[in-house]
Amino acid sequence: MSILLQQLVNGLVLGSVYALVALGYTMVYGILGLINFAHGDVTMIGAMVALTSITALSGHLPWPAAVALGLIAAIAVCMVLGYFIERLAYRPLRHAPRLAPLITAIGVSIILQNLAMLIWGRQYLAFPALLPQTWFDIDGARITGIQLAILGIALTLMLILDFLVRHTRLGRAMRATAQSPQLAGLMGINANQIISVTFLIGSALAAVAGLMVSAYYGLAHYYMGFLLGLKAFSAAVLGGIGQLRGAILGGLLLGVIESLGAGYIGVLTHGLLGSNYQDVFAFFVLIIVLMVRPSGLLGKPATDRA
């Protein structure tokens, strides 16, 4: 029982980070129909900037102030980065065949990885040990303060975003642009502005996720964005790409599946496979779901996107 509870908590924490990154993928896909493969690397840059600034500030400021400033720095850098990636790499290809921006996205991803390698080096960077080690024991499962903070902040941000998209003027304009950019233009909605805002929001969420993941694992590395991005993208597809709530559901589900898989795979296979197969588990579930529901859990059939 305690293992189950423990793995569920771990999975939800991991899943909420996936969900934050997945939201960036799904929002951009919803409006542009583009899979922004550089998004995982924007998350990595967020992690690197946060870690570097927090390390630099940790001797001079109490830890909450250092973390807050590190977060702000990461958000600022990622937003600027996201904005210029869209302006320079994707906007010129707005009317090109769909494959062109996709390849460009992969190119941007490689550029960001190499840039990070040049700036921060090839080695793993350690997150400074300044966060207080608090935890709560519930029924034999241990929930740390960091885990609680990650869950709380991630869920709050998701609620805010969901509200923003569903119930505000900006969100309405975003959804209208996603359905028909031309018609939205005729209504006086500036599609370019909406697209920029979408990248800004997605990048800010990625920055938060980057800080979370590096604080959680205590590490950051220039290549970390690849697998994280791949999983978050899978989460978005799992939930139904283009659907905000789908990305949230997909992220949380993927996190839980992965952690339950890691926790039980040894028992289930009598020790043949270990927890290092957790990644396989997540993608295995993704394949099964897509075979049954190709448009994802909350996705609508392709014909609905007019």
Binding site: I160, L164, H167, T168, R169, L170, G171, R172, A173, R175, A176, Q179, S180, L183, A184, G185, L186, M187, G188, I189, V197, D304, R305, A306
Partner: protein, 255 residues
């Protein structure tokens, strides 16, 4: 009578095709003005020139004294001209209410910070917008469907929704592109009543293109007839009906 829309000597060529030749007409305040003509007469081209989708080769269009020629479509909307489309163009996945609210987007001011912070101004704007949208839906008679997705409305109601969305931008001139297309006789009569009541309630001018000549005769104050890109008649319906050129070009050959 004061002029609202002034179309002055508009010509339009597409390569060697003369789609419009020296067409002039004016629409007055609070007038329902009809545009008819056989297929290929240039009605749609003229409509597209007025609404900014096509730039004329020569001539110009002014609305309430402001030149519309060369303006982008959404700027024309801001100047007070809203339109509906021959093939209905709604946001199918947004609710009926949201479709109308989007129609009023250009009148809003809330930016991203207002949307996130939910300050008092943003909240009030949103509440006003909602009220106005409800009123408009009431006016066009589909207020019992506010939360339905636009794609789930019946064909006739989708047409009404498009009209409500166009009205949401507070236009001085409402341009309807074949609003009765694909409707049965009962729906057509109801639509005509609606258009007449909108004019009475909102004191706006309405420009209509439609194939159904009888229906137009009963709706419009004045009618212009286009034939091969030229305006061959412009008068009140009774006189247009008896105009020899019109009978020859259009009514005669049609019946």
């Amino acid at each position: 009578m004061n002029t609202l829309l002034d179309i002055h000597q508009v010509s339009c060529r597409f390569g060697g095709v003369r789609a419009l030749h020296d067409v002039s007409l004016t629409v007055n305040n609070n007038e329902i003005f009809g545009l008819i003509g056989p297929n290929g007469a240039g009605k749609t081209t003229l409509f597209n020139v007025i609404t900014g989708l096509v730039t004329p080769t020569s001539g110009n269009v002014t609305l309430d004294g402001c030149s519309l020629t060369g303006l982008a479509v959404h700027d024309i909307l801001r100047h007070g001209l809203a339109r509906t489309f021959q093939n209905i163009r709604l946001f199918p996945g947004l609710s009926v209410l949201e479709n109308v609210m989007i129609g009023r987007h250009s009148l809003g001011h809330t930016g991203i910070w207002g949307a996130i912070s939910r300050n008092q101004r943003a909240r009030r704007e949103e509440a006003d917008l909602r009220d106005t949208a409800h009123q408009l839906l009431q006016q066009v008679g589909i207020h019992h469907h506010t939360q339905t997705l636009a794609r789930n409305l019946s064909y006739g109601d989708q047409r009404r929704l498009e009209i409500a969305r166009a009205l949401a931008s507070e236009p001085k001139l409402l341009a309807l592109d074949e609003p009765a297309a694909g409707m049965g006789q009962t729906e057509r009569d109801a639509l005509r009543e609606l258009i007449l009541s909108l004019r009475a309630q909102r004191h706006i001018s309405i420009l209509v293109i439609e194939h159904d000549v009888k229906w137009m005769m009963a709706l419009c104050d004045r009618i212009a007839v286009l034939h091969f890109g030229e305006r061959i008649a412009l008068d009140i319906p009774e006189r247009v009906r008896q105009h020899p050129d019109v009978i020859a070009a259009y009514l005669g050959s049609a019946s």
